[in-house]
Assembly symmetry: C2
Homo-oligomer: 154 residues x 2
């Protein structure tokens, strides 16, 4: 089941979530200036700042910082996974199997991998999400498996 979220959509509680449930986001395009602006502040390495410098790196061209992709992914999670009380992550595993070049449009596909009621806190559960950030060629550029805290309906 694909869930298309909107600003008005109902918020989901722990008991509304089930393994295999999916969410799809809108697209967000990353241009060269956005990549540079993020890099200047958080990851000022030549291959994130300049096309020519990128050519002389392992990336063979300018690429976005992986943490920029992660930040945009969070934005797409907030916009497409309508959890009651907000999306509160405890952590996760992240990998960047492919580069994000200037001009790439990204979208997010999220799937519920596991749901687990908290034993110590009856008011909440722990949900594991797999979030794949995908470019306009259908290639996954970031894979994130993250656990979030989700309130139960009271």
């Amino acid at each position: 089941m694909q869930h298309e979220a909107s600003a008005d959509s109902e918020k989901l509680y722990f008991d509304d979530l089930h393994v295999g449930q999916r969410f799809a986001s809108h697209e967000q395009t990353l241009d060269e200036e956005q990549i540079r602006a993020f890099a200047r502040q958080f990851d000022p390495q030549p291959f994130h700042l300049d096309e020519e410098a990128g050519k002389h790196s392992l990336f063979t061209g300018m690429v976005a910082s992986g943490w920029h992709t992660a930040a945009i992914t969070m934005r797409l999670i907030v916009d497409s996974v309508p959890i009651a009380g907000g999306v509160i992550g405890l952590g996760g595993e992240i990998s960047w199997p492919g580069p994000v070049r200037p001009g790439t449009s990204l979208h997010l596909e999220t799937e519920v991998l596991e749901t687990r009621a908290s034993k110590s806190r009856p008011d909440r559960g722990i949900v594991t999400l797999q979030c794949q950030t995908i470019n306009d060629h259908g290639e996954t550029v970031q894979k994130l498996v993250t656990t979030i805290v989700v309130p139960r309906k009271t």
Copy 2:
């Protein structure tokens, strides 16, 4: 061995790195407006935007987005771990054991956990780093274990 990096320090190649090697960063303070600016762009949830809204959340106060802490951590890695060719991460495991409140000063302690020469690519190796982002009370607010690609001296 503690390595204090400066802009002029020598860059490190794979064979310069060994298990147990440590790097320390300078401090970076995160104020309320920086937390809000990052959140507006990447994680626009009430508890990252407003102290009053934060009080009514699981965080019991305004906190920085975990991805903001991750981005600042990357900046501190770039500033304190002088890898030849730049810090190029393949991915890792991230967790946020504690909140980052407005006004917190963060610094980074990095330790080399593993070094592994590449079998297929004799010009490089894979190095696992543990990066602990620590607040001004000595509490770890983010733990990142990440693998990076490091060139060998040719």
